[in-house]
């Protein structure tokens, strides 16, 4: 009988972006009592509960099964969850919070461009300095897995909670593994990213816990949420094209060669309506004109609900 619980970031830019993401899907998050309250609701969905948590906690709560859904970065999913493929399901990327987890070394290391260079330096470092090469990072698990995949074993991790990029200058470490959006902080600290040193391209994702208590109420709540999220996504990615055309069959055939379009609306008489991917709108319009249309109009849509929910079905399958 448990409600569907969604964990969302409790402060900062991630929180704002999350609110606007839900807002676009027509879901209004309410936080009675303001920023001090750690529980909230979604307007019109009484069976859904919101938990406001810090970003790194969300990944852990998901793997523990304490919440059903969470909004968190891929970096935190991979760092904090031992085997993500077993304990969580990545529902969909959200288009914000993009950042890369990278290996960065001092620019002065003109001899180090790739991970294999770094491997050479690491294995020679102890001979020369009597200790292992130090890597400052908060991504202990990601670093270890990435270095192991490159066959590098001669290093030590120095855990760093903040301002990791300053560690080499402060002689607390020789190099770092950190998250960066533009690379400007690395630049400012005279660090460069290795050519093959991108460990993970991260952005905020809607993530589902596989170990949470998925009661019928929770599943129904998930379906209601994902219906709206998927409908908004589909509306955002598609446009409706309308034109007066004599031969519908031929026109549709021509369109099919350009993109995956589907007939849409009341296609009786001459009027033809199709749902078409946003990126192919101009090409499709051109094709319709070549097939006899005088004018093509394009409309944006608020929501596109479909019988088959592309976000809910894969989740339901994993849970069954």
């Amino acid at each position: 009988m448990s409600k569907l619980t969604i964990a969302i970031p409790s402060k900062g830019r991630l929180q704002e972006n999350t609110h606007s993401f839900f807002g676009r899907a027509g879901l209004k998050i309410q936080r009675p009592g303001g920023a001090r309250n750690y529980r909230g609701t979604v307007k019109g969905l009484p069976d859904v509960e919101i938990a406001f948590l810090s970003a790194s906690e969300i990944a852990r709560e998901l793997s523990d099964g304490a919440v059903h859904f969470g909004i968190t970065g891929l970096d935190l999913v991979h760092e904090n969850i031992a085997s993500p493929e077993k304990s969580v399901h990545i529902v969909t990327p959200l288009g914000f919070g993009s950042a890369d987890v990278v290996v960065a070394v001092p620019k002065a290391w003109i001899d180090v461009e790739t991970m294999s260079d770094l491997g050479d330096v690491a294995s020679d470092f102890r001979n020369r300095h009597g200790r292992r090469l130090r890597v400052a990072t908060k991504y202990v698990n990601l670093t270890r897995a990435f270095f192991a995949s490159h066959g590098i074993a001669d290093y030590r991790i120095v855990e760093s909670a903040g301002a990791t990029e300053g560690a080499p200058a402060a002689d607390a470490a020789e190099l770092i593994v950190d998250i960066t959006t533009t690379g400007s902080t690395l630049q400012a600290n005279n660090l460069k990213i290795l050519a093959d040193g991108v460990i993970l391209k991260s952005q905020a994702h809607l993530v589902a816990s596989l170990s949470a208590d998925w009661s019928d109420t929770a599943l129904a709540g998930a379906k209601a949420i994902l219906d709206r999220v998927a409908a908004e996504e589909k509306a955002r990615d598609n446009r409706v094209l309308k034109a007066a055309i004599a031969d519908h069959g031929k026109a549709l055939e021509a369109l099919a060669a350009i993109a995956s379009v589907q007939p849409f609306g009341n296609n009786e008489g001459q009027m033809l309506g199709v749902l078409c991917p946003k990126d192919s709108v101009a090409d499709c319009a051109r094709s319709l004109i070549q097939n006899g249309a005088d004018t093509v109009t394009v409309e944006t849509l608020e929501y596109v609900f479909t019988k088959e929910n592309s976000l809910f079905s894969p989740l339901a399958e994993k849970l069954s």
Partner: protein
Amino acid sequence: MPQSSLTTGDIETVLTLFKDAGHDKVSPPILQPADVFLDLVGEDIRRRLFLTNGTDGEDLCLRPDFTIPVCRLHLENGAAAREAAYCYHGPVFRQRADGLGEIPQIGAESLGRNDFVAADADMLALSVEAVRRFGLSDLDIRIGDETLFVQVLKGLDLPVVWQRRLRDLFGDTEKLSEALSRMAGGEANKEDERRDVRLGFLSALEGSDPAAAHAVVEDLLSIAGISAVGGRTPGEIADRFLEQAQLANGAGSNPKAAEILRRYLAISGPADTAVRELRAFAAETGIDLSEPLASFSARLDALTAKGLATQTLTFAADFGRRLDYYSGFVFEIHGLNSPSDEQLVGGGRYDKLVRLLGAEAEVPAIGFSLWLDRIARITGAGA
């Protein structure tokens, strides 16, 4: 799941066997400084350690093995180079996905013996006898020897970089064969394409007088006003930069040496035939293996004298441990009829360990551990 279905009587029998062979029983502390293990074994062990903190913030761990704690005990209680033999029984702690990470072990270590060959034979024979006392007789005994590999590397006249790369990877067959492909010229080129821009500069440097080139690179770094070089000196960076120049000019790809190494690493089989194969390999390639081969044969003779027929031992040229304190002879014992291929005993020579722990010089040392949980599973399954 019971910790071990072996009886106290079984354990006592084996401890008595060790004591009769001159090994004193020791009980090193369960709590150990985590730094020692991370430094010696590498970061990869961190995910398996049970970590905790002392009140002063020191990172502590539950001992993940016995060898390092026993050696620390040895160092605390007297001169590092003294001859000593120890045995132990108790749990080691390693995080694992299935089951609790508390694993019972029993084993023995021998430090300070300078008669290497005899010590190797004594310890392998002792471990085999210990396993037999637990009621297992169909054993698959595997041996390896890194000194042979090192000698082959030396004999190939490879650039220093490649000698170091390959030696580092010895013991990890997959990574080692990847590296050999790179050395053969396959992948090296792909990677070097990224360096195209710098290649011209590098080749210009390569042709010049090494000392002058070194000075140029060092000067460049200081002109750029680069002071914080992240713990590496400009001289060190210049060294490696020139090393790359050498590699970029073709010294890097060496298909012939890669082929010879592949041939060497493929040698495996019963120890007595392996010796003949190794001799033939040395003769064909012209690599002088006489010294390590003499020790290898002497060790086999000593084992025969102890009643271990050499045809029952399996040698594999690529068998080693990717831990840099293991320096030579290594062995493993598996059950011949056991359902899984887990090792029941792991052992080997670790002459470098005591020095890495703080002694002034290397101390000859060899030891082994029995995985009692696995032995219990096999003997239990047979009952």
